[in-house]
Subunit: 321 residues, 2 copies
């Protein structure tokens, strides 16, 4: 049996055909090349059509399609809200793709949900039924699986953990993204470094080597690796936030695994033991002993694997019912 | 069809026979009268036997039994950890009750899970598939239902929200119960009042009328109602904590309802609008608009109703499979 996974990102499309054992039969990345609105929908439909018609897959055709989107999949309506794709406030992706592929089932899921499904299928959460993917990149979100099922919430916006609060004095700026994301996302790390640079006028370290406004989280990690005191201050603060957020998720969910991924993990993966130490202090003491904190095994492929696994689950659940 | 719900509390047993429409056919409360360990198990078995043999129910016998326990129900093992029942660290309740009732299915669930099930069946969460019961009494816990299913976690200890942290400077005392519970449970309210009394030596209000060590949360609520400045300070602090905790649950779960219950709500129910105002500031902005905050409709009966509903669901899921 074959399934098709598609992962729509902000700049590219990842397409892969998998066997039911998560082996890759075909895989390619396609640049969005500045596409907007309906062009992105057309690009996805074109890829679906190509795979369906591909002679290599005639003997063992694709039987289910899963699509990961960078935003909210409104599962009742079949529409997508994706803030980084211009025009996708309520985009009717399901209808468009379904018209291409007839009776082949199509399911659309948020990227964060696909990340944890990917790790459960082929990554570091294999065998787990209760697992969380904490995605820390430009923003912060969590894909949550409880007792084998994706947590969606009443209106498909569960896992918005960027909005977790740790009772920082409230700032209006949190209204756009939340306390946790404001401080401990990739964007947050860069912003915090810029703020500390503005305060510490006597600092002469390597973070002064480029204009403050151009500093990225990767510059901060790079400076940290060279024992830069300002970078250490910023990263230590974030380790505290990541640890408290993980502690709260552990106390609430009693999961087997928390997988740290997204662009920041990446470089922050080396801090996972330190994050666990912080969480150990705050979390429910039995639950924290039962959970394993790990880096994503699949990295930027987590979404496309998750989309594939979601497609596979769609068939399995149909066969059961 | 009839089901039996039993709610074991720290001092009494609530027993009720319900119709499948949540109407009460029989209900009684039995004092534990200081029973410990196996005596409590025997008392439960005795009640089960009495109901099964009761002539009033011969025409429409009990077809399923649900039991709510004040602690952790280890669903795989059928054993119970209940810190307030001496000797119940790993008590084999399922086996004992099952021996009494033969082929009638028996399920045991934590009290917090039963609270939200009760509110979904006959209380303020009717019709909801995504709902949370925030139980604030001596301790703090949450019963969570996501997409119609109880959230259990990998080892049945999900919902331990008393351990939520809001980045208070860490104290060793949190190791016993967690930041949120330390500050904003009934015990926490009394403790905070005692601490503030010790600091504010010039205070001469009504909370000085009894020895500090005897002050309860109810004394603090009573003083609040009379505009006592110290009580206002303590309660306002707790409203902030309850609001942040609710905000975090809203951002994570995107629920339809959060029900506030337990002994503290009760008197704190009047603060639910203020709690919502705090949550509005911190939570995911779409989710917080979609959720309703309400007081428990069932009060101290939430557990026995939930046990009954759990029993009913057990039959329904058997009939489906």
């Amino acid at each position: 049996m074959s399934v098709l996974g598609i992962d729509l990102g902000g700049t590219k499309l990842r397409v892969a055909v998998f066997t039911s054992e998560a082996d890759v039969r075909h895989k390619e990345n396609i640049s969005l090349a500045g596409c907007q609105g309906g062009q992105v929908g057309s690009l996805i439909c074109h890829q679906v059509r190509q795979v369906i018609q591909d002679e290599r897959f005639v003997q063992d055709p694709v039987q289910s399609i899963g699509i990961s989107v960078p935003g909210i999949s409104r599962t009742r309506e079949g529409t997508v809200w994706a803030p980084n794709i211009p025009g996708w406030t309520d985009y009717p992706l399901l209808k468009e793709v379904q018209e291409i592929c007839g009776s082949i089932p199509v399911r659309i899921e948020s990227d964060r949900a696909c990340y944890i499904l990917g790790e459960m299928w082929k990554g570091n959460a294999r065998g787990a039924k209760d697992a969380i993917f904490l995605a820390v990149g430009t923003g912060i979100g969590a894909g949550i699986v409880a007792d084998g099922r994706i947590l969606r919430g009443a209106n498909d916006i569960s896992g918005s953990v960027g909005w977790l609060t740790f009772n920082t004095p409230f700032k209006e700026a949190f209204s756009a993204c939340g306390d946790f994301e404001y401080h401990a996302s990739g964007t947050g790390i860069a912003r915090m470094a810029q703020q500390v640079l503005a305060e510490e006028i006597s600092y002469r370290g390597q973070l002064r080597l480029k204009p403050s406004a151009e500093i990225s989280s990767h510059d901060v990690f790079d400076a940290y690796a060279k024992n830069d005191p300002l970078a250490i201050r910023v990263i230590d603060f974030c380790v505290g936030y990541w640890g408290m957020a993980a502690a709260n998720l552990v106390s609430i969910f009693n999961p087997e695994k928390i997988i740290f991924g997204g662009g920041v993990f990446g470089p922050a993966a080396e801090f996972i033991p330190a994050i666990k130490s912080v969480a150990l202090k705050w979390a429910q003491p039995l639950s924290i002993q039962q959970v394993s904190f790990e880096a994503s095994a699949l990295g930027s492929d987590a979404g496309v694997y998750g989309a594939g696994y979601f497609a596979l689950q769609t068939i399995s659940s149909r066969e059961k019912s």
